[in-house]
């Protein structure tokens, strides 16, 4: 097999890479293409990777495919922003609308483990009321999930990832102590803390999915700071080093460099398997159930591209909502300079957080936001300066000289679900011959009000700690969610609470695209909690003969 995991698959011939030991392998069960497996899962990120583990551990036969490579972090990952762009989904996409969103490095991963391989590891629970935001808070849509049940699954994920976090969390109902101790604060996080104290709001160490103590063969975080370009020491608890090794040990097969282009349906209207491209040709894997877990762009794209005479609008789309109500999260920032050296390139970028404005409802807009300390690496920082701050030439070079004194606060803010925001298929074709997704995004007035509120507050918080040269980065968004939402009514949702499609009962969707609303926290913990719940529900339904 080739040494470059981007050119030839690594998983196969009865083995998969051992991500914990250089050059080593773990045994992996394999399934024939003509052998209908219980579940074929499309995507191995926070949704698909987690569900593959749960289903395999419950005794189902599972094949999980990912379009991306199977990396060995200890050998393949450099301490280098440019090289590590190999982790991003960089296939062609068109981004349009009044506020076109940035994709690629911003929110998309192409690797076994999905975007968890380069996520910032911030692992937060939803505010309980958000699961019933229409009923309790007057906006968005209610989820068909109960927060107390989700509290149970959040705990399961936090244990599975050994989240490092504070002893007591300042907001929301009581939660258990985090499994691993909180990380120490870097200077950027101390700046956030001091600003919160000056403004009279609470802050805490961010619950974060990187080890603060040894775990098995993985070492604690060394505060290298390249987190969002992939962790080369395995401290980061990505799906690649947590759920997927568990899934393989429980009998799942992972197929890397396997791009699924179409879900096949039979004469009875049920899904029969997936067409996928691997090693230079299209293949077909039979399955009794198909789970689509490609995240908020690839999931709608695949469902729309699988249209048939019987399902002319695409699969699972009798509601017409596949690819609609896409949501991103607001990601605006305020930046300034400190007299002291901050050197925010050290340690995970967001070690301190305030969720104050997620829990305080005395605001003139719906939804909430948290904000966190920041640590941009040089390429990203220079691009922010030239694109958002408008500096080039000598002013840019002068500004970059102050890199080690920069300090910043950045929100993860709730944008409201709007039908007009979404994913459709464009005329252009990608390298597999599949139609390129066209993503359209426009902010609504409430989104703009939330952004204005956050920028004003963070600007005061930086001013309160005597930062100078303060400026606002007004146009940025981050995580994707929605596009195939869950609900209690087949007419107004794509899947039910169990992530099972209303239209095709052996077709499931398990990733961030099922979110009806997006909340004001990073979504990965919630995606994984939903996947854990779905795995348990499938086992229960199978036991009762309801699959």
């Amino acid at each position: 097999m080739s040494d470059d995991p981007r050119h030839a698959p690594r998983a196969g011939h009865g083995r998969a890479p051992d991500v914990f030991r250089p050059g080593a392998w773990v045994p992996m069960r394999e399934y024939g293409e003509d052998e209908a497996v219980d579940f074929v899962i499309v995507g191995t990120g926070a949704g698909g990777g987690t569900l593959a583990c749960k289903l395999a551990e419950h005794g189902f036969s599972v094949v999980a495919m990912d379009a991306g490579p199977y990396f060995r972090p200890l050998e393949d990952f450099a301490s280098d922003e440019a090289e590590q762009s190999k982790l991003y989904w960089t296939d062609d996409r068109i981004s349009t609308g009044e506020n076109p969103i940035q994709l690629g490095s911003n929110n998309s991963g192409k690797a076994v483990g999905g975007s968890t391989v380069h996520f910032a590891m911030v692992s937060l629970r939803f505010r309980p009321e958000w699961f019933k935001s229409r009923t309790l808070l007057g906006y968005g849509f209610d989820w068909p999930l109960d927060w107390q049940e989700m509290w149970h699954y959040y705990h399961e994920v936090e244990e599975a990832l050994k989240i490092a976090g504070p002893i007591t969390y300042p907001w929301g109902p009581p939660r258990p102590r985090y499994p691993y101790r909180a990380h120490p604060l870097n200077a950027a996080a101390m700046a956030l803390a001091k600003g919160c104290e000056a403004m009279g709001v609470a802050w805490t160490e961010t619950p974060i999915a990187t080890l603060s103590a040894p775990r098995g063969l993985a070492h604690p975080c060394v505060y290298r700071g390249f987190c969002v370009t992939g962790c080369s020491t395995n401290a980061k608890q990505s799906a690649l080093v947590t759920w997927i090794p568990r899934a393989i040990a429980a009998g799942a097969e992972i197929r890397d460099l396997a791009m699924v282009g179409r879900v096949e349906t039979g004469p009875d209207g049920l899904a029969t398997g997936v067409h996928y491209h691997r090693e230079g040709r299209w293949r077909f894997q039979k399955a009794r159930n198909v789970v689509v877990a490609g995240y908020s762009i690839e999931t709608p794209r695949l469902l729309l591209n699988s249209a048939t005479a019987r399902y002319p609008q695409g699969l699972a789309n009798s509601s017409g909502l596949v690819g609609k109500y896409l949501m991103v999260q607001a990601n605006q920032a305020v930046w300034g300079k400190m007299e002291a050296e901050v050197r925010s390139y050290k340690a995970p970028p967001s070690l301190a957080i305030t969720e104050h404005w997620n829990y305080d409802d005395n605001k003139d807009f719906f939804g909430g936001y948290c904000y966190m300390s920041q640590g941009p690496l040089p390429q990203l920082w220079a691009n922010t300066q030239i694109n958002a701050h408008g500096l080039w030439g000598e002013p840019l070079m002068q500004e970059m000289q102050d890199y080690n004194h920069q300090v910043g606060l950045k929100i993860v803010g709730e944008m409201l679900p709007q039908e007009r925001n979404g994913v459709t298929l464009a005329e252009d074709k990608d390298q597999y011959g599949l139609p390129v997704p066209r993503v359209s995004y426009s902010w609504c007035d409430n989104d703009k009000a939330l952004i204005a509120h956050s920028l004003g507050f963070m600007e005061k918080a930086l001013g309160a700690i005597d930062a100078t040269d303060i400026w606002r980065q007004e146009d940025d968004t981050c995580h994707l969610n929605g596009g195939a939402r869950m609900g209690g009514d087949p007419r107004t949702s794509v899947v039910d609470a169990d992530c099972r499609s209303w239209d095709i009962r052996n077709l499931w969707i398990c990733d961030g695209s099922v979110f009806p609303t997006v909340g004001g926290v990073n979504p990965s913990l919630t995606i994984q909690a939903i996947a854990c719940r779905t795995g348990d529900r499938i086992k229960q339904m199978a036991t009762r003969g309801e699959l």
């Binding site: 301490s79 280098d80 062609d92 994709l103 870097n186 290298r224 002291a340 050296e341 390139y345 220079a382």
Partner: protein, 215 residues
């Protein structure tokens, strides 16, 4: 005498053989330092234009070997690496660069009677400023918004190329590669011995002495 800069004597490459650089990092940075200077995607004329634009966006001191910005962009386009998204009216990256350079050169000739690379700096800056604001829209743009080309493609590729280079890391006092050693001292004004020392209050000597021992 050249300005010693904010981090006098600091060279991130001195850490190449320390526990801050793993094998993969050495391999990719070595390849970057050896990037071919002859273009493989751009024509010679395009290459000269990219160099001229980079000199305006990320001007470099003459006291050290320059970061080969145009060669790094040429390498990226030659290999076909893309961002993974493009705006409305934007072609894919290679086509965007080809068309954007031709359109900028056409604007330069129409306004000043000479190609962009041959214009004096202030005239180049004025054209780039107009492009940044979306004020260029001649037929050679083919409907591609000049502002989007500036922000999404040209400026981004130029700063990404510049700040991918160890010379730029040293210049801003960035710690650079850090695997597996990482860092220990995380607070305000806390510096690990393998990080750049800043010349403060005009005292370059102390910083220079510390920077000689970085490794």
């Amino acid at each position: 005498m050249p300005d010693p800069g904010r981090y006098p004597g600091y060279d991130v490459l001195r850490k190449r053989h320390t526990p801050s650089w793993n094998d993969k990092t050495r391999q990719v940075v070595d390849a970057r330092l050896a990037v071919p200077r002859e273009p493989r995607f751009f024509t010679g004329q395009e290459m000269a234009m990219v160099t001229a634009i980079a000199d305006r966006l990320v001007p470099q001191p003459r006291s050290r070997p320059p970061v080969p910005v145009a060669a790094l962009i040429d390498d990226k386009l030659h290999k076909g690496h893309e961002d993974g998204f493009r705006g409305d009216g934007m072609p894919r990256e290679r086509e965007a660069w080809r068309r954007g350079l031709a359109a900028l050169d056409a604007e330069a000739r129409a306004r000043h009677g000479a190609g962009f690379a041959g214009l004096p700096g202030p005239q180049q800056d004025a054209l780039l400023k107009r492009m940044e604001q979306g004020g260029l829209s001649g037929p050679a743009w083919g409907g591609m918004p000049s502002k989007t080309f500036f922000k999404q493609r040209m400026a981004k590729d130029i700063v990404f190329a510049y700040y991918a280079h160890p010379t730029a890391w040293s210049e801003i006092g960035f710690g650079g590669p850090a695997s597996p050693r990482g860092y220990v001292r995380l607070g305000y004004d806390e510096r690990d011995p393998w990080e750049a020392a800043e010349a403060r209050d005009g005292d370059a000597g102390d910083a220079q002495r510390k920077n000689r021992n970085v490794g």
